[in-house]
């Protein structure tokens, strides 16, 4: 399908959106690459690496999702105001 992009919407792929995408993809790469963390050392307060590393990723992925959320909101606001400006 070849549809002319609407002038007011701007390009679909922007640097901000690439960053959002990376934030969302990073947890998948980290968690599905099991070989990178399937070991017991170094332990943290007695908890083997395998366990504390994954729990740490709960925190990291939460932070990344929050960043993605904030960037997305800013992106949407910017688009809305640009669109509003274009229509006036």
């Amino acid at each position: 399908m070849s549809q002319a992009p609407e002038v007011s919407r701007g390009p679909v792929v922007t640097p901000v959106r690439v960053v959002i995408g990376l934030c969302l993809i990073a947890p998948f790469v980290a968690m599905l690459w099991v070989g990178s963390y399937a070991k017991t050392d170094p332990a943290f307060i007695g908890i083997p690496f395998f366990y504390w590393y994954q729990m740490l990723w709960v925190v990291i992925s939460t932070a990344l999702t929050m960043i993605a959320y904030q960037l997305w909101r800013r992106d949407q606001r910017a688009r809305a105001s640009r669109k509003g400006g274009a229509e006036q």
Binding site: F28, I47, Q54, W57, V58, T65, Y69
Partner: protein, 542 residues
């Protein structure tokens, strides 16, 4: 362990049970709307829940009593491989961040109550919508049954489950009472009941976990000792398999299984009807995105909870049935009154999801079987009446299931349910982003995934079971052991894509699409999107 009834623990348990019963019935009056006879009111709480209620509701819904019992039980039995639940719940949130707001928007715009409603509207296919609805109901039923298994585990440890020689009625009476009460307030209050009870459930759970994760390691001599003892226990040979019982980190061979289980389960979670019901009850699109950033708090709790499995080993808890490991650990380590709070947390943790699941299954039946095939001109009031009755039937069915059949049957079906529900992903998530897939191709892909998944799971043997012995099997063409559901899903997508090309080439009828591109990004307050009480049926109430 069955040395009589633990009176103090039972007293505390009953206190909390009565508390949530009162809450459950009062919930009918909470945030009540003018038109209480619509399915949106009973089945979706008026689509009015804000960020925090949605957070409690989804948390109470997704992290069930069975999860609390089964995840540490898996760790207790085999170590590292049971920990996949943590990466699984990590992956869920970035995943739903991308598609759930779109589902919310299009559902609000068109008054969809279930995922099947959306599939029918998007692809103009009642057949495909029926397939999604039946899959959802089939996958949900054993899940409800497992909540009962969770309550049973707690009752057993408190000594009210009765021994093997007690009369079946006396043995099951507590369970019957618990479910009778649950059925009554779900019937009268709808989704508002679990939403209100979820506050109590999650508060209790967080308190119990916080105490357990500090108090138990201190009593057991710290995490060093706990893991040393667990490692020792896992290195012993299992007489049934001739291999070590488990490991503290997955061996090379288990890593594919670990990763595919995590990914497949993450993809499947928000295909379950009860997850979607809780999602659609939220007030706005923002509520959902915001929730993806605060729901991981539950994952952290799940990780800590999983560690209790190791503590059960270190504390010398010896149970035949692994599901009793955690309740037994609580009873051994905690003073009676706090053990009662912990048991109440698990018991109430079963009631919340069981209520939401039965509502979700009832909505599917009403909207996509009753209204689509039996009585197309049903009014909103009739829809609600049917849903209420079906929610009762679904619970009775689950109860009969648990009481008459062996527990392993429920667990086997739950395993199959996960594989099945994942097969609705292409139609639902695919449909949210593109109309390229052909409806018949989606139906064929779904059928292939269902058949392959069921047959593959049937063929898995374990030392204790000839069939349905596990959810992982060799992936054809790769040779590694992977999650059957994910293999079936890949097959499903391949069939769908190939057949879409074929069907488009022969110009098979595409079906009407009642949605528009802008529907997928609409938010509350936009024209045509009512903040509360949209028409129960798309387009009929204008």
């Amino acid at each position: 362990m069955k040395d009589g009834v633990n009176g103090v623990a039972l007293g505390v348990f009953i206190f909390f049970f009565l508390l949530v019963t009162v809450l459950g019935f009062l919930a009918a009056r909470w945030r009540k709307a003018e038109n209480e006879h619509s399915l949106d009111e009973w089945g979706l709480g008026g689509r009015s829940f804000g960020t925090w209620i949605t957070w409690f509701l989804l948390g109470g819904d997704l992290y069930t009593a069975y999860t609390f019992v089964a995840v540490p039980a898996a760790i207790y039995a085999a170590g590292a491989s049971g920990f996949f639940a943590v990466p699984y719940t990590i992956l869920v949130y970035p995943l739903i961040f991308t598609f759930l707001p779109r589902l919310w928007s299009v559902s609000h715009k068109h008054g969809y109550v279930t995922t099947s409603d959306f599939v029918r509207g998007r692809f103009g296919s009642k057949g495909l919508s029926l397939a999604v609805a039946v899959t959802g109901i089939l996958a949900t039923m054993p899940y409800i049954a497992l909540q009962l298994v969770g309550i049973q585990a707690v009752l057993d440890v408190m000594g009210v489950g009765g021994g093997e020689d007690t009369n079946w009625f006396v043995k099951d009476l507590p369970l019957l009472i618990a479910f009778g009460v649950l059925a009554a307030y779900t019937y009268s209050s709808g989704l508002r009941a679990p939403a209100l009870i979820a506050f109590v459930k999650d508060t209790l759970i967080y308190i119990v976990i916080a105490v357990a994760i500090i108090y138990i390691p201190i009593k057991l001599g710290g995490f060093d000792d706990i893991f040393a003892k667990a490692g020792e226990a896992f290195s012993q040979t299992n007489p049934a398999t001739g291999k070590p019982k488990g490991a503290l980190a997955p061996a090379e061979a288990g890593q594919w299984t670990y990763a595919t289980l995590a990914l497949g389960s993450a993809l499947a979670l928000f295909m379950y009807p009860h997850s979607i019901t809780a999602t659609l009850s939220s007030r706005s699109r923002e509520v959902i995105r915001r929730n993806t950033t605060i729901l991981p708090l539950y994952s952290l709790m799940l990780g800590l909870l999983a560690l209790l499995g190791f503590m059960a080993i270190a504390a010398g808890v010896k149970v035949q049935n692994g599901q009793l490991a955690i309740p037994q650990l609580f009873e051994t380590m905690f003073p009676d009154w706090f053990a009662g709070i912990a048991f109440a947390a698990i018991g109430i943790g079963a009631l919340v999801p069981a209520a939401i699941m039965s509502i979700a299954a009832a909505n599917l039946f009403t909207r996509n079987i009753y209204k689509d095939f039996i009585k197309p001109d049903a009014t909103a009031q009739q829809e609600t009446a049917v849903s209420k009755i079906v929610s009762l039937l679904v619970k009775v069915g689950a109860l009969v299931f648990v009481l008459t059949m062996d527990k392993t049957v429920a667990i086997n079906f739950q395993l199959l349910g996960g594989i099945w529900i994942l097969q609705t992903f292409p139609a639902l998530v695919g449909g949210l982003f593109t109309r390229w897939f052909h409806r018949w191709a989606l139906l064929a892909g779904w059928a292939v995934g269902m058949v392959y998944g069921t047959m593959a799971a049937y063929g898995v043997a374990s030392p204790t079971q000839k069939h349905f012995g596990g959810s992982a099997k060799e992936i054809p063409g790769i040779g590694e052991i992977g999650y059957i559901g994910l293999t079936a899903f890949v097959l499903n997508v391949a069939v769908t894509v190939v057949l879409t090309f074929v069907l488009k080439a022969v110009k098979a009828p595409e079906g009407a699409d009642e949605t528009k591109p802008e529907d997928y990004t609409a938010d509350a307050g936009d024209p045509g999107v009512q903040v509360e009480l949209p028409p129960a049926t798309a387009g009929s109430a204008h």
